[in-house]
């Protein structure tokens, strides 16, 4: 080793990081403005009364009493079936997630591992179904359910949300790219039949995909408004989005016109929004652990 002159010149840290920092900073700022602040404001606003919302300083905390008051207004009003709606939402989401997992995982697996006639067509149809907006097929689904006499039943919504093309596609991508084929071949040589290869080897290794599909399916079902609105006319069958929306618009809580006498005003609407958002946040925090877990490490040469 020769040390000609001085030690090698090290570039100052800031010159490497400045541009990168700028990008990250811009993204964080953007997210803060259009996501963080509104969310923060949402939680703070629930502590105000309808009038103090406008008089108090922005981003100020009101009182817990206001929260309690709004909560009792929301839950005790005779037109509210809050717990029924929450229960319905849960039923629709849990069964919707279950059904979409049962359908999406084997479908994606077969599309990824087997080559059969019609495979490309099915993949293409899945993509088309994935990008078709929900609103476009609501009416045909309504007619279909009408035809088989399932309109205005819980089953109709669950069946209609059970097919989750995005989930099929996610499962397909995962099984096609992340899961080494040799592991499946090795299970076949080990004596596993097609079904055993799937549920004893492929499925346990697909936990990240399962968590991701379950999460997206849950979000889609939990916040499903339009389909539920069209299929379910009985307000005892409504889920939270449909029930609360009809309550809030019925009470004209968000309009500036004179109060209708119904104790559902802006704070109650805000509380309702929190009620809808909160479970999704909790579920996300729970499921992202599985998504990030390295399931496949160590199987192959690595």
């Amino acid at each position: 080793m020769t040390h000609a002159g001085s030690a090698p010149q090290r570039r100052p840290l800031w010159s490497k990081l400045r541009f990168w920092h700028l990008c990250v900073g811009a993204i964080v700022l953007f997210a803060l403005c259009f996501f963080g602040l509104p969310l923060l404001w949402l939680f703070l606003a629930a502590s105000h009364t309808d009038s103090s919302l406008f008089t108090a300083a922005p981003f100020s905390w009101g009182t817990w009493r206001n929260v309690a008051q709004s909560w009792s207004n929301l839950t005790q009003y005779e037109g509210t079936h809050l717990w029924t709606w929450a229960f319905n939402s849960l039923i629709y989401s849990v069964f919707g997630v279950g059904l979409s997992l049962i359908a999406a995982l084997p479908a994606g697996y077969i599309l990824a591992t087997e080559n059969f006639p019609g495979r490309r067509i099915i993949l293409l149809a899945t993509l088309v179904a994935m990008i078709t907006p929900n609103a476009a097929i609501v009416l045909p689904i309504f007619l279909e359910m009408h035809l088989i006499g399932l309109n205005n039943t819980r089953v109709s919504l669950i069946l209609a949300t059970g097919f989750f093309p995005f989930g099929v596609y996610l499962a397909f991508i995962y099984f096609a790219t992340a899961l080494p084929k040799e592991i499946l071949n090795s299970a076949r040589v080990d004596g596993a039949n097609a079904w055993q290869v799937f549920y004893r080897v492929a499925l346990p290794l697909a936990k990240p995909a399962i968590a991701l599909i379950a999460f997206f399916s849950f979000v889609a079902n939990w916040s499903n408004y339009f389909l539920a609105f069209v299929l379910l006319t009985d307000d005892k069958l409504h889920n939270l989005p449909v029930g609360l929306t009809s309550l809030i618009s019925g009470a004209r809580a968000l309009s500036f016109s004179a109060a209708t006498g119904i104790p559902i005003r802006r704070p109650e609407a805000i509380l309702a929004a929190i009620l809808i958002v909160l479970p999704v946040l909790v579920i996300f925090l729970f499921s992202q652990r599985f998504i990030r877990e390295g399931q496949l490490a160590g199987g192959d040469k690595g």
Partner: protein, 356 residues
């Protein structure tokens, strides 16, 4: 009765023919190595025996039973993959027990067998670990253990050592050789490494272009290659195969001879004009490079017409780049090939062939 029998096996992917007319019999207890460059079809052939690929034509039998269309699980085979293909969600014990569980062996029997395999492979202390916690060599041992516990009729190895580093590769090679002798098992082993093939095989099947080029004992292939491909593929450094005209008129060369091959260890290197051993052919060349490995040196030479040759020099040499040399070989050590690459057999071939 042969353990594995391939009759006229062919395989095409679409319009691409990767295997043509393969006929082969593998005896019980034999270790047969498929060797060939990449794209020669050796792995495809192994996967056809395993049942992971279906032959497009021909018939595969194991222990006399036609298994051409049988599932891998119905064939009584076990396979070790290049990528190990362990189940990442199971610990070492469950990886090895998986097949036995599927075959509904009793818990006690499973434990006995797994522990026996673990003892043979020195995996006793690792049974509770997950594959992610193992080194490459240990993972490969688990993959082999997974095969051993089943007591299969045939072990199939698909380039099992190619992901290991050089030292570990030698160690595992010896271990597979030991296993082969201890278990007296029939093994089919695929590799592109001719050293692995030479050291492990009872018999080598040399493949190229989807066809069997030669089947024989390792030293048969080395000393009596059936054609130019085998001659050049087996042996390291490879045989010097040159146009016959380069060597001029030597010995009693048959008229159809188109190419002449000389192995590096059969080339004598002389720096003066003191060459002309009896019955020797010679040519003039320039030294291009010398590799000194200590016990042995390799000289790289180039003739005036630009032909490249390698010669093996025992011990050290003071040869250096640019030195003019005379390279010579006994006529008896020369391999003669026809224009189509086939070896021209000669009576005079006196190369000692070690059989057994």
């Amino acid at each position: 009765m042969s353990m594995v029998r391939l009759e006229n096996v062919g395989k095409s992917f679409g319009s691409v023919e990767v295997l043509r007319d393969i006929n082969l019999e593998i005896e019980a207890g034999e270790l047969v190595v498929f060797v060939g460059p990449s794209g020669s079809g050796k792995s495809t052939l192994l996967r056809i025996i395993a049942g992971l690929e279906e032959a497009t034509s021909g018939q595969v039998s194991i222990e006399g039973r036609d298994v051409t269309f049988a599932e891998p699980s119905e064939r009584g085979i076990a396979m070790v993959f290049q990528s190990y293909a362990l189940y990442p969600h199971m610990d070492v014990y469950s990886n090895m027990a998986f097949n036995l569980q599927l075959s509904r062996f009793s818990k006690a029997e499973i434990r006995t067998r797994v522990e026996e395999a673990a003892r043979i492979l020195q995996l006793d202390d690792l049974l509770e670990r997950s594959p992610a916690q193992l080194s490459g060599g240990q993972r490969q041992r688990v993959a082999i253990g997974r095969a051993i516990v089943r007591h299969p009729k045939v072990f199939l190895f698909d380039e099992p050592l190619s992901n290991l580093d050089a030292a570990l590769r030698v160690q595992m090679r010896l271990e597979i050789d030991r296993l082969h002798r201890e278990l007296e098992a029939t093994m089919v082993y695929v590799t592109h490494d001719q050293v692995e093939a030479m050291t492990l095989a009872d018999r080598i099947v040399a493949l190229d272009g989807g066809m069997v080029q030669q089947v024989g004992r390792p030293l048969d292939l080395y000393h009596r290659p059936a054609n130019r491909f085998v001659a050049e593929f087996v042996g390291s450094p490879r045989m010097n195969v040159l146009d016959r005209s380069v060597w001029g008129a030597v010995g009693n060369m048959p008229g159809e001879t188109a190419f002449v091959g000389v192995r590096p260890e059969h080339l004598q290197v002389a720096t003066g004009s003191n060459v002309t051993a009896d019955n020797a052919a010679s040519l003039v060349a320039q030294t291009r490079a010398v590799e000194r490995l200590g016990n042995i040196s390799y000289g790289y030479f180039e003739t005036g017409q630009g032909h490249q040759l390698v010669a093996q020099i025992i011990g050290n040499t003071d040869l250096k780049s640019g030195d003019p040399v005379v390279l010579s070989s006994r006529f008896a050590d020369m391999h003669l090939f026809a224009a189509d690459g086939r070896t021209i057999m000669r009576r005079e071939l006196t190369t000692p062939v070690e059989l057994n």
